[in-house]
């Protein structure tokens, strides 16, 4: 706009300074704090000096090319990675302040607090009802009324109640892939977890089912903390609050998702999200 008044040198400077001043809102409490985590499969050094604070009620996306360590990382968060022979770790992962690698730490308890959803929907070959009631039954809940309630709440939480409420006794295998994946999410919700880990939960789904799962993730973060591994850049950009970019077992960049996709700090991040390699 026209400015008939002279402008002073200082004002010109003031207009320039915003380039240097990022504004951030107050951070939420940390759920999972990973400190200097290293992991080896035999002699293969798969995770290198990972430092990653994961916060409450946020969606944290983990992106990176195949073999970068992102699946290994989330499988470490519930110690599932220990099922692989010859795995060795160093460093610590604090879940709610306690190191999950401590000798006395109960893996079973950890896994009731941390649910997981996998790439391929993997319902049990049982009825929809029994799929959801499976976890609570293992934890000793036998009361039919209580189980009914858990099943309904979990299915509602996974945004699939209306689609299945009239056929809870049919086999979960009879559902579509997208529905099966939401059944798996409901199954994870039934044990009332604190954190949900998702390993490429939509990579086997069509666009409509993908959209439903993405909407669900957005709703779930109100009550849970979610960590999602995804190969879909647009998905990470759409649904996550924070994004960590993994490459060759290292965290190259971890920041607000908007920052990562609009103006990443590291050239390697830029190259990856722009499709220049990987």
């Amino acid at each position: 706009m026209v400015q008939l008044m002279n402008r002073t040198e200082n004002e010109t400077q003031a207009a320039v300074s915003p380039l240097e001043a990022p504004v951030r809102e107050a951070a939420k409490p940390v759920v999972y704090d990973t400190k200097q985590l290293n992991l080896w499969y035999g002699s293969h050094h798969a995770l290198k000096n990972i430092d990653l604070p994961i916060r409450e009620n946020e969606v944290t996306a983990i992106i990176g090319p195949s073999g970068c360590g992102k699946s290994t990382y989330i499988k470490t968060l519930n110690r599932m990675v220990e099922l692989v022979d010859g795995v060795r770790t160093s460093g610590e992962i604090l879940y709610r302040g306690r190191n999950i690698f401590e000798a006395k730490y109960s893996v079973e308890e950890l896994r009731t607090r941390v649910g997981m959803v996998f790439q391929k929907p993997n319902p049990f070959p049982k009825s929809i009802y029994d799929n959801i009631a499976y976890g609570p039954r293992i934890h000793g809940i036998k009361n039919k009324k209580v189980l009914d309630e858990i099943v309904e709440q979990s299915l509602r939480g996974a945004a699939i109640w209306d689609e299945v409420k009239d056929r809870l006794n049919t086999n979960a295998y009879s559902l579509s892939g997208g529905q099966q994946q939401r059944i798996c999410i409901a199954r994870a919700l039934a044990i009332e977890p604190d954190v949900i880990l998702m390993d490429e939960p939509t990579s086997a789904l069509d666009p409509i089912s993908t959209l439903k799962v993405e909407e669900l993730v957005q709703e779930l973060k109100e009550n849970y903390s979610i960590i999602i591994v995804t190969h879909n850049m647009q998905q990470a950009a759409r649904i996550s609050d924070k994004t960590a970019f993994f490459l060759n077992g290292e965290v190259i960049e971890f920041d607000d998702t908007d920052k990562i996709f609009q103006n990443p700090a590291d050239q390697r991040t830029e190259d990856y999200i722009s499709g220049r390699f990987g």
Binding site: M1, V2, Q3, L4, N6, R7, T12, A15, V16, P18, L19, M233, Q234, A237, F261, Q262, N263, P264, R268, E270, D271, I273, S274, G275, R276, F277
Partner: protein
């Protein structure tokens, strides 16, 4: 580290092509401005009419850029620098299209003055126009070379344009009192000053967009 496949290469060459089209637009806008000023100085009505007609060329380039941007966004779903380059091309092309319109407005004022003798040889308006064209050429280089220092300089130069505008308007108001028979001509000259001042603002917008493209940060240099 970098392994670039054909799809990515095609995208990069399309981004280059987009840049080339935009640079052509900047160049054309600058030429139109120059022609509109020559037409005024020499009261060459044929040239003024040519400026009006040539505007279609800038508008066509603006359309071409709009189409290309939509195509690239749908096909490539760009992020980060790629996305900023594309969005900035879209925004700068709007500014260049407006500069083209302002050159046409100057030509129309020249046609309104017609062959009525000028009340005095005009010197300061062409000087202001030269300064604006220098800004445009600098903006061309700043965009081409992604040079943000050059972009920051443009904001300062626009301050000088704004100052010249204020001075010229006051001077023309004075003439109006002394030459009541030439109010039409003086008003047209005042309009021309205003159009040139607006060109400076559009170039400043372009400078802001270049900084955004390179740095990913938004600032307002027009304040």
């Amino acid at each position: 580290m970098r392994k670039v496949g054909n799809v990515r290469k095609t995208f990069e060459s399309e981004l280059e092509e987009l840049k080339g089209t935009l640079l052509r637009m900047v160049d054309l806008a600058e030429r139109q401005l120059g022609d509109s000023m020559s037409a005024l100085q020499t009261q060459n009505l044929t040239l003024a009419n040519a400026v009006k007609q040539n505007d279609a060329e800038i508008n066509a380039l603006d359309d071409e850029i709009n189409q290309k941007v939509i195509q690239l966004i749908t096909q490539q779903q760009p992020v980060a620098t790629d996305l900023r380059k594309i969005i900035v091309a879209l925004k700068i092309s709007t500014d260049m299209e407006r500069i083209g319109d302002l050159a046409v407005n100057i030509a129309k004022s020249t046609l309104h003055i017609g062959d009525e003798p000028l009340i005095k040889p005009i010197v300061d308006i062409p000087k202001m126009a030269d300064a604006v064209r220098v800004m445009l050429r600098k903006a061309f280089d700043a965009y081409d070379l992604e040079d943000i220092d050059l972009a920051f300089e443009l904001a300062k130069e626009d301050d000088a344009i704004d100052e010249a505008y204020g001075r010229l308007i006051r001077e023309l108001m004075g003439y109006m009192h002394r030459n009541p028979d030439h109010v039409n001509q003086i008003t047209q000259l005042a309009f021309i000053c205003r159009h040139l001042e607006r060109v400076g603002d559009h170039v400043t917008n372009m400078a802001e967009n270049i900084i955004f493209m390179v740095k990913g940060k938004t600032l307002n240099l027009n304040e």
